[in-house]
């Protein structure tokens, strides 16, 4: 009977120890799973932060690129508008020059242009080129020639060319040998002074 008790006790203790082993294994297993879940969360969060940072950086770069382009476009819009206004001023001035050619003031002005050109060319034989309309004006070539002679102190012979030029107004002079040309047309003056005129217009209008 005592022997039976001893073996029963041994078996009972063995069963309890076995139960503890299994319980420990289960506890360890739960801890391991929890630890891995936390590890997964931690590592994924690190990656998540990197992903968000990368996305933010990319978006910032894109922003800088787009804003830079937008500013270029904006400047272009303003500059383009300024350019249009300057062109309108030039066009308006041209119109006024054209209107001037239809007034009485224009004839003496044109005569002066011819005289100035003649003096610059230094006299001798000079061909005078005008547009079709100006060719019909009552220009006093005798007076013009005398004025050029008095200023250059040389022999001068001026003749109106049959060839007509395309211009708003003004005159083109050429020595008879064709070697020297003096362009005193309004169009050429506008062309020659275009850059400085536009700079000045810009200052008058925009500063």
């Amino acid at each position: 009977m005592e022997l039976q008790n001893i073996t029963n006790t041994l078996l009972q203790e063995a069963k309890e120890s076995a139960k503890m082993i299994i319980n420990d294994a289960q506890e360890l297993s739960e801890k391991m799973i929890t630890k891995q879940i936390q590890l997964g969360i931690k590592e994924a969060n690190s990656k998540r932060l990197l992903m968000l940072k990368k996305a933010a950086n990319e978006a910032d770069m894109e922003r800088l690129h787009k804003i830079a382009n937008s500013k270029i476009t904006s400047n272009w819009i303003v500059l383009s508008r300024k350019g249009e206004i300057i062109a309108t001023v030039m066009k308006e001035a041209k119109k006024r020059l054209q209107n001037l050619t239809q007034t009485k003031k224009y004839v003496p002005m044109l005569e002066n242009l011819i005289i100035e050109g003649g003096v610059i060319l230094g006299g001798k034989k000079i061909e005078v080129f005008l547009n079709k309309k100006d060719s019909k004006l009552p220009l006093n070539f005798s007076k013009i020639t005398k004025r050029v002679i008095s200023r250059t102190k040389t022999e001068v012979k001026m003749s109106l060319s049959e060839e007509k030029i395309q211009t708003i107004g003004g005159v083109l002079l050429r020595t008879n040998d064709g070697k020297v040309i003096m362009d005193n047309t309004f169009d050429d003056k506008l062309r020659r002074k275009e850059k400085s005129l536009k700079d000045k217009i810009s200052k008058i209008l925009f500063i």
Binding site: L11, I41, A44, N75, K200
Partner: protein, 111 residues
């Protein structure tokens, strides 16, 4: 003598039985441990993927939000430049005649 043998035999049997119980417990604990490793790996992947999926969505949302802000900023820049262009136009009207006079007189002054 036979009683002693019987006792010895029973103790030996009990000892074998306890060994068997321990061995079974060890096998089961190992099984639990093996399964735990697999479950832990699965749990890791599941939690990792869940957060990553959320992060991908957050990234998309962040980009959308930033793009929206950029669009607003671009619209403002465009509106500002149009406003400046309009101001340039209005201000230029004030001195327009002066500018035309300048060009006209410069060309005539040369005459």
């Amino acid at each position: 003598m036979s009683l002693l043998l019987k006792v010895f035999k029973e103790i030996k049997e009990a000892n074998l039985e306890t060994k068997k119980i321990f061995e079974e417990a060890r096998i089961q604990a190992e099984k639990i441990n093996r399964e735990a490793h697999q479950k832990a790996l699965f749990a890791y992947e599941k939690s990792y993927k869940k957060i990553l999926k959320k992060a991908e969505q957050e990234t998309i949302e962040l980009k959308k939000k930033k793009e929206k802000n950029i669009e607003k900023e671009l619209e403002k820049t465009k509106a500002d430049s149009e406003k400046i262009a309009k101001e340039v136009e209005v201000n230029s009207e004030r001195n327009f005649k002066k500018a035309v006079d300048y060009v006209f007189l410069t060309i005539i002054g040369e005459a």
